[in-house]
């Protein structure tokens, strides 16, 4: 789930699925109602979303032939240095997903975390790694069922942004907005866009 979008309206989940240690498949699942105003739904590929800069190559039957972007490391992700220089956008690489793809692939096929320097903004990355390792070791060493496996209802969550009073407890103030399957006709979708 991602922090952009209007909390309470956004219905979106992403999955980062390993194909093997050196390839992964990104899946995005959203509801049409919450994405209609911000995305182009390609009528020729019903249910599959493609935004500018995220054009896909035709699938092949190869093990690694599914859902590859046209922009790859082999064409420097179609970076436009003039656009970067003119500050039209930060990277010159077209498409938000392509920007993410370029930068995470550039870290090395299997990123080596023994050399990095994590700062204040990396607290979430640190926590997620810690919990992953805890759950993996608990399963391996003690046979403990991993979190959520037997609790499908804990996934009933929404993400997004919301304005709340400065001194409010954000968990309490957003409790209703974060619940799945709740309608919020009072919210304005134009807050996102």
């Amino acid at each position: 789930m991602i922090p952009t979008g209007v909390s309470g309206l956004q219905v979106l989940t992403r999955a980062w699925v390993p194909m093997d240690d050196e390839h992964m498949m990104f899946y995005s699942m959203g509801s049409q109602a919450s994405q209609a105003q911000s995305s182009n739904v390609n009528a020729n590929r019903r249910m599959v979303r493609q935004r500018p800069g995220e054009t896909l190559q035709p699938n092949t039957t190869d093990w690694y032939g599914r859902f590859r972007l046209e922009a790859t490391v082999r064409n420097d992700y179609l970076i436009d240095r003039d656009k970067q220089r003119r500050k039209e956008d930060y990277t010159g690489i077209p498409g938000i997903h392509t920007q993410d793809q370029a930068i995470t692939e550039s870290m090395g096929t299997i990123y080596n975390r023994t050399q990095e320097r994590l700062g204040t903004s990396d607290v979430m990355v640190i926590r997620v790694r810690r919990r992953l390792m805890e759950a993996a070791r608990a399963l391996a060493e003690r046979g403990l069922t991993p979190p959520g496996v037997d609790n499908p209802e804990v996934y009933r969550q929404r993400s997004g942004g919301a304005f709340i009073p400065k001194d409010a407890n954000w968990l309490e103030a957003t409790a209703e907005l974060r619940k799945a399957f709740v309608e919020h006709p009072e919210l304005d979708p134009a807050l996102a866009g």
């Binding site: 952009t4 992964m24 899946y27 959203g30 069922t145 969550q157």
Partner: protein, 247 residues
């Protein structure tokens, strides 16, 4: 920063690895349902958690995910005939149902019961919201699919995307939970001080701050358990520590 050992632990996901075993306890998305557009359509090569698998949709419309190499002598079932509720190897005609049972072995004598002794690795699949999910774990009876709202919409209300990335899964995921990069990598135009560069207030307030103030409530992790969580006896609620949204 991680030690070399921990970095190996979090990145290696093949059969028998610690992280791979963890992932196999959960349902994972294997394909878009649209990759198998119709009953008896062409099989698809699917690489998943370091395993080579063949995805197919049988004559009854049921999706299956079966080992690439035929259990007989290792020919790829990708070239198989997808016919009459099973995938038939074109080398010697052995045929497998989507649950991995061998349903025909035409080069064995009629009285042979060998086909009952052979089974292909096949993972249970469930189709929902345009995704083919599979369970590759150790349980005989897989758990329930996670209650993910966008995956529980009617098919014509779902918007899906799939994109392959040529790198390890975790650095991909780490980019998604790192909000700090939004004000740099994705900024257009490339200065947060440009007058009203992004009109919508929520998007602007998500992207523009470059040194974010964090509020990180300390919650007990949703710890691994030996069984289902204990519900509150009066409200039926789960412990609040089980919310996956709390960091």
């Amino acid at each position: 920063m991680l030690s070399k050992e921990d970095n190996e632990l979090v990145t290696r996901v093949g059969p028998g690895t610690t992280m791979g075993n963890l992932m196999r306890e959960y349902w994972v998305p294997a394909m878009l349902a649209s990759e198998l557009p119709a009953a008896d359509c062409d099989p698809v090569r699917v690489m998943l958690l370091g395993e080579k698998l063949i995805g197919f949709r049988d004559s009854n419309g049921k999706p299956g995910l079966i080992q690439n190499h035929c259990p007989h002598r290792g020919a790829s079932l990708f070239f198989g005939r997808n016919e009459e509720a099973g995938l038939r190897c074109v080398y010697h005609g052995w045929k497998f149902a989507s649950d991995g049972t061998c349903v025909d072995m035409p080069n064995e004598p009629a009285e042979s019961d060998f086909k009952h002794k052979v089974r292909a690795v096949a993972y249970p699949c469930q189709e929902r919201g345009g995704i083919v999910w599979t369970y590759m774990g150790s349980r005989q009876n897989p758990p329930a699919l996670p209650d993910l709202e966008p995956n529980m919409q009617p098919d014509d209300k779902v918007v899906l995307a799939a994109m392959q990335r040529e790198c390890n899964w975790l650095q991909g995921l780490e980019g998604d939970i790192d909000t700090s990069h939004l004000g740099f990598l994705h900024l257009a135009p490339s200065s947060p001080t440009t007058p009203d560069p992004i009109r919508s207030p929520i998007t602007r307030s998500t992207i523009a701050p470059r040194a974010t103030r964090w509020s990180t409530p300390t919650t007990a992790p949703c710890t691994a358990r030996t069984g289902p969580a204990q519900r509150d006896s009066t409200t039926g609620a789960l412990p609040s520590s089980c919310s996956p949204s709390t960091p």
